[in-house]
């Protein structure tokens, strides 16, 4: 079996000095202040936005962070993450409808299903790197989409899964405002897990693989196995977001598996800043809010706007929001 098919030139590299570096070098009080601000905003959010939009932002934040774990910290651009987000949404919906479990258990089942699916897809996909990895993951995600579309007895096809319950030990979570606070701990746990992964010795190896796969291999690290592990963890996190999304909407449609969903997740990360982890959260908030504004104003051609954002971000703003701010802060600190 061949190990390396693609030259390192094909491997994904972040366009900017990693925002992570800038933050890691920031003094402790800055980091704690950022964390405090982030938590405050998270606790305040449904008071300033429609709670339903705030719920979507939380779900997409997890999704974006899961994509960035691969794109920013392993150098793999998955263009098929809708497969994990969507599979978990369906499994969560089915478990919640048929087993009547409290919603966190259903979401956990969904996320585990997503991780299980990520195992074979990841095993095959990590045989290629760079742009091929993107094409292969996109193709497998499309396969999952076709299967869900055909398997109508389970997924209800184009009608979608209706009436996903929000059961939680008899508590009334039908109001999105309270539901937001019910899922916030789960989302924060997921984000904490991503942060732990990135800052663990395992995460350092991933970054090493991203920057120089040949050297990582020469040092004796089983590169494929590391990539696969990262892929499965990422699939789990994406699944966590997708499951919560299903419960949040009380409805699962085929859209959750569509290739546009995969693409949107990637652009959310690029907009926020590749390799910055929290940039994805910002990107998710911005894109979800913008789409809500557009659909609220009755604007039909949302693809025109999201596509336009894609083009502009890729052409002019490759560092993303977090990456730009971090680079500025780094420069400012060097000067002073």
């Amino acid at each position: 079996m061949t190990s390396a098919v693609d030259t390192p030139a094909d491997a994904a590299r972040p366009a900017a000095p990693s925002g992570l570096v800038a933050v890691a070098r920031a003094p402790g009080w800055v980091r704690y202040a950022l964390l405090a601000v982030g938590l405050l905003v998270a606790f305040w959010l449904p008071n300033g936005l429609y709670p339903a939009v705030a719920v979507d932002i939380l779900c997409w934040a997890l999704f974006a962070v899961s994509v960035d774990l691969l794109l920013g910290f392993t150098g793999l651009m998955s263009f098929g993450h809708a497969a994990f987000w969507g599979t978990s949404a369906y499994v969560t919906g089915l478990v919640a409808i048929h087993a009547g479990l409290p919603f966190p258990a259903a979401v956990l089942a969904g996320a585990l299903a997503a991780a299980l699916l990520a195992l074979p897809i990841g095993y095959l996909a990590v045989k290629r790197a760079g742009i091929y990895f993107a094409m292969v993951t996109l193709a497998f995600a499309q396969m999952v989409y076709y299967v869900a579309n055909e398997w109508r007895s389970v997924t209800q096809g184009e009608n979608g899964l209706q009436g996903v319950p929000r059961s939680f030990f008899g508590a009334d979570l039908s109001d999105d405002y309270y539901f937001y606070y019910a899922i916030l701990p789960i989302v924060l746990l997921g984000l904490l897990a991503a942060w732990r992964i990135v800052h663990s010795p395992f995460g350092r190896v991933l970054v090493g693989i991203r920057d120089n796969p040949a050297r990582a291999r020469a040092l004796g690290y089983p590169v494929h196995r590391y990539k696969l592990t990262a892929f499965v963890l990422s699939g789990f996190l994406a699944g966590l977001g997708g499951g919560l999304f299903a419960v949040g909407h009380r409805f699962v449609s085929l859209d959750v598996l569509h290739w546009t969903t995969s693409g949107k997740a990637v652009i959310v990360v690029v907009l926020g800043g590749i390799g910055t982890l929290w940039g994805g959260v910002l990107g998710a908030a911005l894109v979800v809010r913008l789409e809500d504004l557009l659909s609220f104003s009755g604007f039909e051609a949302i693809g025109l706007v999201t596509g336009g954002i894609f083009v502009l971000v890729v052409l002019l703003f490759r560092r993303g929001i977090w990456g730009s701010v971090a680079a500025l802060a780094l420069r400012w600190r060097r000067r002073s």
């Binding site: 263009f79 045989k127 193709a139 299967v147 652009i267 690029v270 894609f310 052409l315």
Partner: protein
């Protein structure tokens, strides 16, 4: 027997579309290291353009078959100069994202003007009816598509193999740095080659108009299958991409005919083949192993 030949023939016709699109993708990738996500959207524009020309200006199929590839080739060259060019020095992922964004824009532009319902496009009268091959007869239009595509592929093969332009393109595809080191100005061929690849997509679109439903989303799902096709064939190999296109068309048609109880098979077989190829020959059936990193 005649049933089998019928299915085989249909498979080759279906494969012809994959081959045309994969050929364009491979030529563009070879020259620019760009995987053009918008290829499917441009194929859709080819079909839609033919439809609009006929419905609103009465321009017949044969004229559209010339006009649309030229127009889209020109559009491709403009796109290459205006935006894609700016990102070719960066990681190929950025152009993949850029062309993905372009796909969303092109689709929504057409969608907001014409809606998402499919529009009928009549088969040109010269090509209606069917051809009798003794054991079986085939719709004339499909025979035409197959013959035309094969001729086109042979033509491209001849240009690549026998002309100076072709030599430069092949050399730049296989060993870009070395070609530059020989003092060959690869840069001046980049824009025309991109335009040519897009023209092929437009041509495939016009050919598809009388056969397939013309709607704004017709290219999007197709292009993902074509991505799988080029992974199977090996994107670096022009011959491999075309061969894999026809091969996948055949397998799909046979799957549709003999496993008709499982419609999911013909939709997903291409991805299963891709998985098998990744296990067996990760570089693709005709792809060259690049030096290990």
């Amino acid at each position: 027997m005649s049933g089998f030949l019928q299915n085989t023939f249909n498979g080759l016709v279906g494969g012809a579309f994959y081959a045309l699109l994969a050929l364009g993708l491979a030529v563009i990738f070879g020259m620019l290291r760009v995987v053009n996500f918008a290829h499917g959207a441009l194929y859709m524009l080819g079909a839609f353009g033919a439809y609009v020309l006929l419905a609103e200006a009465g321009v017949p199929f044969w004229a559209a078959l010339v006009i649309m590839p030229l127009a889209l080739g020109l559009l491709g060259m403009v796109l290459e100069r205006a935006v894609i060019h700016r990102l070719t020095r960066l990681d190929p992922l950025y152009n993949f994202l850029l062309t993905f964004g372009l796909t969303l824009i092109l689709q929504d532009l057409v969608k907001s003007r014409y809606g998402i319902q499919s529009s009928p496009y009549a088969t040109p009268t010269e090509l209606s009816g069917s051809v009798d091959f003794g054991l079986f007869d085939f719709p004339t239009y499909r025979v035409f598509i197959l013959g035309f595509t094969v001729l086109l592929c042979v033509g491209v093969w001849w240009v690549l193999g026998r002309t100076r332009v072709g030599m430069v393109v092949r050399a730049a595809t296989e060993r870009p740095e070395l070609t530059r080191a020989f003092g060959i100005d690869v840069g001046k061929w980049v824009t025309p080659v991109f335009g040519f690849g897009i023209a092929l997509a437009g041509l495939a679109g016009v050919l598809a108009a009388p056969m397939r439903a013309v709607n704004p989303l017709m290219g999007a799902d197709l292009i993902i299958v074509v991505f799988a096709v080029v992974v199977i064939g090996g994107l670096g190999s022009i011959f491999g991409s075309v061969a894999a296109g026809f091969g996948i068309g055949l397998i799909q048609a046979w799957g549709e005919a003999y496993l008709s109880d499982f419609p999911i098979v013909s939709q997903t077989v291409v991805f299963v083949v891709m998985a098998a190829v990744l296990l067996w020959r990760p570089a693709g059936l005709f792809g060259r192993e690049e030096a290990p990193a």
